[in-house]
Subunit: 387 residues, 2 copies
């Protein structure tokens, strides 16, 4: 069991020391030992590790302890570490170089052909990264790894993409392949999970203890962050709300079940329904039709808004979060949907005892969330540090 | 933030030492320090606390360390501690005295009048506990507290019952009142949460990292245990799946929403639907009608079974557990429903990528789960120890 595991204890001890230096620097080794209950040997070993990794430096400052000895103070070296974050989507990918505090210092967006193979795409990511490093004159030695966020089910331990319906990938060893291409360590995860992590660390959910992020896009999914940790579940699939059944008499889903939530609110579903009436291809066009007074468009969107409410209410029942972040064009971009939140119509769908227990917010990092979150994932995975 | 909090570190350190003594006893203080990275001072302080609380004793055995010194070995004293666990329901309550290893050493069940006030019920619990202690000749000094598991929303921090629709209680300070009556510390929680805890510690979910328990009874609810800890959410209401909306065109729920899951499978809902056709008052009668070939009974139960499948499938999507415990008469007692599980018909409702990720099991502790879980809650709360 995890609790008894010594590797686990070591990892936790390191995280504790790191957090303490981050929150209380400058701080001495002795003070760390006192505050954590760890032995001076343990603290010394962990600090040495952090020092070697380049995170921690000694300050000029020294303090005199009770016994008249000098203690060297420690603080974080925020300039020492870079991670690259990649957002990978069907029709584009974006690469950002991110510093220790989650700031993007360079970003580029590249189109992706839908016909590209996984290998072609991963090769192009490698080339773009190399080109960014050279053009910006970055020190490659400071880059400690690469994180990727993408839609689908990802085995984040091995870095293998089990299934990404959007990209049409099945069992692709992304981390392994990209490590061979770039030479860097690579971490891969579901895009909503890393986005939620970014919002927790630097965005709309700072200080939240239980954050649920719901993404309304090509598919519909959610992620849960508990005390700063992504809740993954057994196969990193927790939060797959798009395939919960919300109407057993409903519409056939591409997954073979009937009445899955995403058949009512995924962008692709809304477009498919619309095309029974009129050939359109974007959400913009659908909202335009509604504004022109087309009842069919109003019917589709009214139903979608009802199900947006149900989605959030169901997430609140199961996760009981303090913060719900709603993200995606459908909920962020159109006044018709924004007014649903602004007028607090959501309350109609929320179980009464839970009505005052949460706040609903838009994402603060917007389109940069996945890039930042992917780089944080790499920080966590390769440096055992948390934001 | 919790991570940086020194009280939190202290509590975690204590739990770590306790776990280690439990899993590796006999063990010396020096060995604990080495394995945990803690200082001898910290280990000494924690061991002294555990010794004083009566959990830890020194063994006869001594080992000679490398330096030729004798080290005293420590082990748990399993006979030193008792906690009382109470299961409180509408029409009865049960009190069990539980030992350190989760074994019930004495149990009694007492009827409760539905008309009883909260104060009357709590007084009767106090009297029964007193009577048990006297009749069994127990040492009151060994009893370190009392845990209560009951239906409803409970503020487990303060021990106040916010709302229990089943008992008709609203804002009842159960812990405070019962402490005044009995003199013991009192912990209170939702019955499904403590039941899941008991199954994790000593029942069907031993060794599971992510357990979901779903209770099908007067209401429908669920609980999630992550690495041995109850996931509570912001107001201890996580898992209230009974009020997720699974059919926006469905039946009116007593909560004021339409299509809540529990309108299709809560026992009370099944009885209410049945009474539109024939006056019956128990699940037994409903199943009997079905066995007699009554189509109305078949229609109600077939729909219920569909929604049992949907309930479990939706929990799997959101929690991605390794183990799902199903409990309650509806799912455990009748062959018609048991065959649904035994023939693995559940798979029909589960999203394809998740089909091999979980096991569904019945509870192992059965009707004793809430009593045992309540006592474990008291152990955790008043001794800062985990099973």
């Amino acid at each position: 069991m995890q609790k008894h595991d010594q590797d686990y204890i070591k990892k936790k001890n390191k995280a504790t020391v790191f957090q303490l230096i981050k929150s209380s620097s400058p701080i001495s080794r002795a003070s760390i030992a006192k505050k954590t209950g760890m032995s001076p040997t343990t603290v010394g070993r962990i600090v040495a590790e952090l020092y070697e990794q380049g995170f921690v430096k000694e300050t000029e400052e020294q303090v005199t302890t009770g016994l008249g000895r000098k203690a060297t103070m420690l603080e974080l070296d925020r300039t020492s570490v870079l991670t690259a974050g990649v957002e990978l989507d069907k029709s584009k990918f974006r690469i950002g170089m991110v510093d220790f505090d989650g700031r993007i210092i360079s970003l580029r967006e590249v189109n992706r052909e839908v016909s590209e193979t996984a290998e072609q795409t991963l090769n192009r990511i490698g080339l773009e990264l190399q080109s960014m490093i050279e053009q910006e004159g970055m020190d490659p030695g400071k880059i400690i790894g690469l994180g990727i966020g993408m839609p689908g089910i990802v085995d984040e331990q091995s870095g293998e993409v089990i299934l990404s319906a959007q990209l049409g990938w099945r069992n692709v060893r992304v981390a392994e392949t990209l490590k061979t291409i770039t030479g860097y360590e690579v971490a891969v995860d579901n895009e909503l999970k890393v986005k939620a992590l970014a919002e927790y660390c630097y965005g709309a959910a700072k200080g939240s203890k239980r954050t649920a992020l719901i993404g309304f896009g090509t598919g519909v999914g959610s992620a849960l962050i508990i005390n700063g940790e992504i809740y993954r579940g057994e196969t990193n699939s927790a939060g797959e709300i798009g395939h919960t059944i919300v109407d057993p008499n409903g519409v056939m889903c591409e997954c073979g079940k009937i009445g899955c939530l995403q058949t009512y609110i995924a962008e692709s579903s809304l477009i498919t329904e619309s095309n029974k009436i009129k050939p359109i291809s974007t959400l913009n066009e659908l909202f335009e039709e509604r504004r022109k007074g087309q009842f069919w468009a109003a019917n589709i969107l009214d139903r979608a808004i009802t199900f947006i409410g149900i989605t959030i209410a169901n997430v609140i029942c199961l996760y009981n979060p303090d913060t719900v972040i709603v993200s995606g064009d459908l909920v962020e971009k159109y006044d018709e949907v924004r007014s649903f939140f602004e007028n607090d119509q959501l309350q109609q769908y929320v179980w009464e005892p839970l009505r005052d227990t949460y706040q609903v917010v838009y994402s603060a990092l917007g389109s940069e969330g996945v890039v930042i979150g992917s780089s944080l994932l790499a920080q966590e995975k390769f440096l055992s540090i948390e934001c």
